[in-house]
Amino acid sequence: METSFAFFTDLFLHSLSLWWVIIPSIFLGFIVGAIPGFSAANTIIILLPFTLVMDVEVGLVFMVALYCASRMGAGIPAILVNIPGTAGAAATPLDGYPMVKKGQGQMALSISFTSSTLGGLLTTVIALLSMPLLARVGFYMHSVEMVVVMLFGISLIATIASKDTLKGLIAGFFGLMIGSIGADHVYATPRGTMGFLELYDGVPLIPALVGLFAISEAFMVIEGESILSEHSRDRLQTGTWHQTLEGVRITLKRWWHVAWTSLIGLVIGVTPGAGAAIAAFVAYQQSRAFSKTPELYGTGHPEGLIAPESANNGVTAGTLIPLLVLGIPGGATAAIMLVVMQYQGVNTGPRLFMERPELGYGIFMAMFTTYLLMAFTILPLSRYMSRVTLVSTTFMSPLIIGFTLIGSFVPREYMFDMYLAFAFGILGYIARKTGYHVAAILIGVILGPLLEQYMLVALQKSDGDFLTLFSSPLGNILWVALVASLILPAFMKHRQRRRKSVFAEGEG
């Protein structure tokens, strides 16, 4: 079948006709994304019996819509109450939450929704047009290149900790050590588990996430009657649609920023195992590195919110590419889709596009339609959702603790995970009160096992030769980019300071 303009138009109209599946899936995904501990993958697994009896096309559209919406939904608690719904949204509160504290919650949600939608739409179109080419990215990203991508993430620790680099690095490396807990990959030797069997598989991410962000936040916010100042409360209460429209305008004005950060998400999403958390943090770091105003990051800067939200929505299209083109699932949700497709007798890989192109391309078109429909269904809600922050901390804090402890139990159903979340909460509280960034600890926990895994493969392939890390051309390009991203901000800061002093001398 020829993939002409008419073919894509037909696909688009057909996916629009499936609105009755897409819109309920959007709302369901939006809700599960916002609940910490409930990922799209969990929900799809729970609803798998329904998906299997649906027509294969309807089932896949349902899963795609739920997946996209959950990615967007995870940003809501991250922005409003500093609790990322999933690890992919862990970079969102860095600038989203400070905006809320300034009384700009409605605008922050609007920026988040618009950049998610634009990032999702753009990367879906790119994925549709360049699927065979992008699928090759997975082939080029070997262990050496992945080590450098991981180091990109770690270099963010220094970026986040710009106020006190030493404390930031200690927090980040402490996180890496915590992330190294568990049985080793080769001989399954338990390391740092303190005798807990529940830690043999490593530190589960959800308890670490909810503990560091949510539980510590709940212990912090009780210092005030509300998480907002008096001024911010007034500003939010008297807010009109103007704030929502202003958020849309700010994001559209920075369309280029949305474009390149969502592309980071797409490329990282194509790489199996990398995931939305890494994409969001790498995009945030790159956005800050190339910004003219890096000092504004972390204070409620729109670009600091646009970057992670565009990137983690770029990942959604990226993870489906290796699944559809190569038959290799790029993440948990993609793996479940593979199961459904195999159950229904649909071949993935190159044969899918020869035998059933309407299904192969149709999945991406459904994703495009989902993002389009989300723009109309979700964006108007930002005005009302932002009012959550007006709830008194008397009610907010117990709610946060109760539901996040429940959320930490849900994925593995271990009581131990609730204790772990509480322990991370106390650690997060101490970190916050004494000037260590909880995001730096979390990045470490996420990257610790991944870095070790890729490093191990790289060293095993080269008989323990560390120079192998500089043996690949693509890896070396990434090394140069990494060094540049670390040096450039300092260089630009120095240049700005020099310009200011020359200007001051000129005026004097």
Partner: protein
């Protein structure tokens, strides 16, 4: 008066030292668990652990210098402040810990209700008790319906869960 103000403005290093001390202690423990293991199990311990130990030692040196110069103290007020909220905060932490302990006997729904109601009353200073009780009831009921009945998650069972089980 001036001297009191000076001492108040000093950097409070006591609280700041907790994370580095925890990091150092954990890293040494981690290294001890892999010291006899094959190199593949030791990779992160020595690559990441050695950097972390170095960073912590630098932090200790910086802290010692600040203490020596009289620019810092070993106070912990930055961890505890504001003092007027301390009883509430400790009470809230104790209730959260209690939730995790009691849930095994009282079950998920009843413990969630008791925790929510007690925390709301504590944080609100006993104000609006009816609103607190109603909110706690709604939250516990929502949690029961969503997590136990709808998603069938295996939370610890108590009287409410057994009643629901008997009725269904």
């Amino acid at each position: 008066m001036a001297s009191t103000q000076d001492s108040d403005e000093k950097r409070q290093l006591g609280g700041e030292l907790i994370i580095p001390v925890l990091a150092l202690g954990f890293t040494l423990y981690y290294i001890a668990t892999v010291v006899d293991s094959p190199w593949s199990a030791q990779l992160n311990a020595f690559m990441v652990g050695s950097v972390l130990i170095l960073l912590v030692l630098i932090f200790f040196a910086v802290a010692a210098r600040a203490l020596w110069r009289g620019e810092a103290s070993l106070g912990m007020s930055n961890l505890i402040e504001p003092y007027h909220i301390l009883p509430k905060r400790l009470g809230f932490i104790a209730l959260s810990l209690g939730y995790l302990i009691v849930i095994q006997w009282l079950g998920f729904t009843l413990t969630t209700f008791v925790f929510m109601a007690a925390s709301m009353l504590l944080l609100g200073g006993g104000r609006r008790p009816i609103l607190c009780l109603v909110s706690a009831t709604i939250m516990a009921a929502v949690a029961l319906v969503v997590f136990v009945i709808l998603f069938q998650k295996r939370f610890p069972k108590g009287p409410v869960e057994y009643l629901v089980q008997a009725l269904s």
